[in-house]
Symmetry: C2
Subunit: 231 residues, 2 copies
DNA sequence: GTAAACAAAAGTGTTGACAGTTTCGCGGCA
DNA sequence: TGCCGCGAAACTGTCAACACTTTTGTTTAC
């Protein structure tokens, strides 16, 4: 990635001297939490982070407040911030939401997005992706899957929807990988995406919505079945 | 173990002398913005608010940061915070979202909620509410409508969904009233709620979802038709 | 009379210092 | 030895002063 953070400052050439902004700290912490680089339940000490980022403590404080509002950390008065530990019920809540929200995204993307793109994605999921799943190469599979997901959300052209999906998706991002490892899940998911993309290529928006919802419902069912192995 | 620290816990409902917390300031400003007590585009000066609430300016600042994250105000660097002015496209985005989200809420509430409650609401919407609409008494009608809406969301039993709906609903709250004034809209809306509640009373969850979605789609269509009179 | 330049004022952004609370270690006592 | 209380250290919460940017008001040149 490394797409440089858009610095409004006219480039003075000074690189690491510039102090990190609140947004940058938030982004960095979000990434770490999503990757479970900082595990759930871990304490986040303001002084440590301040020193690490080379900023005053109040700035870290603002960042933690933002993360709290996004539901990624919990702040207990006088006792600091800990990475939110999501319980099972919340995971199911989120899947119920993803079902309708990503369904909406699929419908809108079908109506508004460029069909050639979906055709290309369809080829990808029918060909190369099938091999990846067969060989159990999950990392590149996940990468392509998330790229498609982002494409659909972007093509939907509804910023408020995009923001919402971003908020809830980042909470379960760490789980996705574990679900995909479940026996047979990856291949089932691939087939469902093929079906989804076929509907999108044909411009059948309602059908695309229905199929996306179906796909997420089945993912949730898998999760329910194997929950003891995941949490 | 639970030996209470004698003075550490400030009781929640303190006297009016205690300085307002960030959460209280946020709530107060949210209410004013929703009621258009502070109109869109108005500037919010930190010093003024600090003096009004009797708190240091930094606390107002934190509150404004929270409101910015909720999308209620826009903060321009070095120029202050102004109440977000929502453009038409965003309103339609929000209605697309409400369509699927409140549809989900209706389905879940039908599955999980107490049927007696829906029966009572149905009686209300078939009887007294009809009179209110006929007499054009919109204020009490809106009040009851919002109470039903909250009931459904609460009965859905999905806190993440509730939070989301809260976030987007408060942005359009000021508009709802204007939509209801549109010719025939209130009565159509009432009839749609009767249909919705009938499905809920019968325990037909999917039908309830479908009908709620239909209702919001038609509200959006009305909005589209009369947009010039509203914005 | 108009407009550009400058100075003062108002408002926002930032920071380090101070205060309050919790946690941890240590010494005394049964 | 166990543990109870006490005090110090670590950490979070709060704030008022300082620095910087934008806006406004005034003067001056054409």
């Amino acid at each position: 990635m490394a797409r440089a953070a858009p610095k409004s400052r006219p480039a003075a050439g000074r690189t690491r001297r510039s102090p990190a902004s609140v947004a940058q700290i938030v982004a960095a912490l979000r990434a770490r939490i999503a990757a479970q680089d900082i595990p759930p339940g871990a304490k986040l000490r303001e002084s440590d982070l301040a020193e690490e980022f080379g900023v005053p403590r109040t700035r870290v404080r603002d960042a933690l407040a933002a993360l709290e509002q996004r539901g990624l950390v919990e702040r207990i008065p006088n006792r600091g911030a800990v990475v939110m530990r999501l319980d099972l019920s919340q995971v199911f809540d989120i899947y119920e939401l993803r079902e309708v929200l990503e369904g909406l995204a699929a419908r809108l993307a079908t109506e508004r997005g460029p069909r050639e793109r979906w055709r290309r994605e369809l080829d990808l999921f029918q060909g190369p992706m099938k091999d990846l799943v067969a060989r159990n190469e999950l990392d590149p599979y996940i990468e392509r899957y998330e790229a498609l997901r982002r494409s659909i959300i972007e093509a939907a052209g509804n910023p408020v929807l995009a923001e919402m999906l971003d908020t809830i998706y980042e909470k379960t991002q760490a789980l996705i990988r574990r679900i995909l490892i479940l026996p047979g899940r990856a291949e089932v998911g691939r087939q469902q995406h093929v079906a989804l993309l076929e509907a999108m290529v044909q411009g059948k928006a309602e059908l695309a919505e229905q199929r996306r919802r179906e796909g997420l419902r089945s993912a949730r069912a898998h999760l329910e079945k194997f929950q003891k192995y995941i949490l």
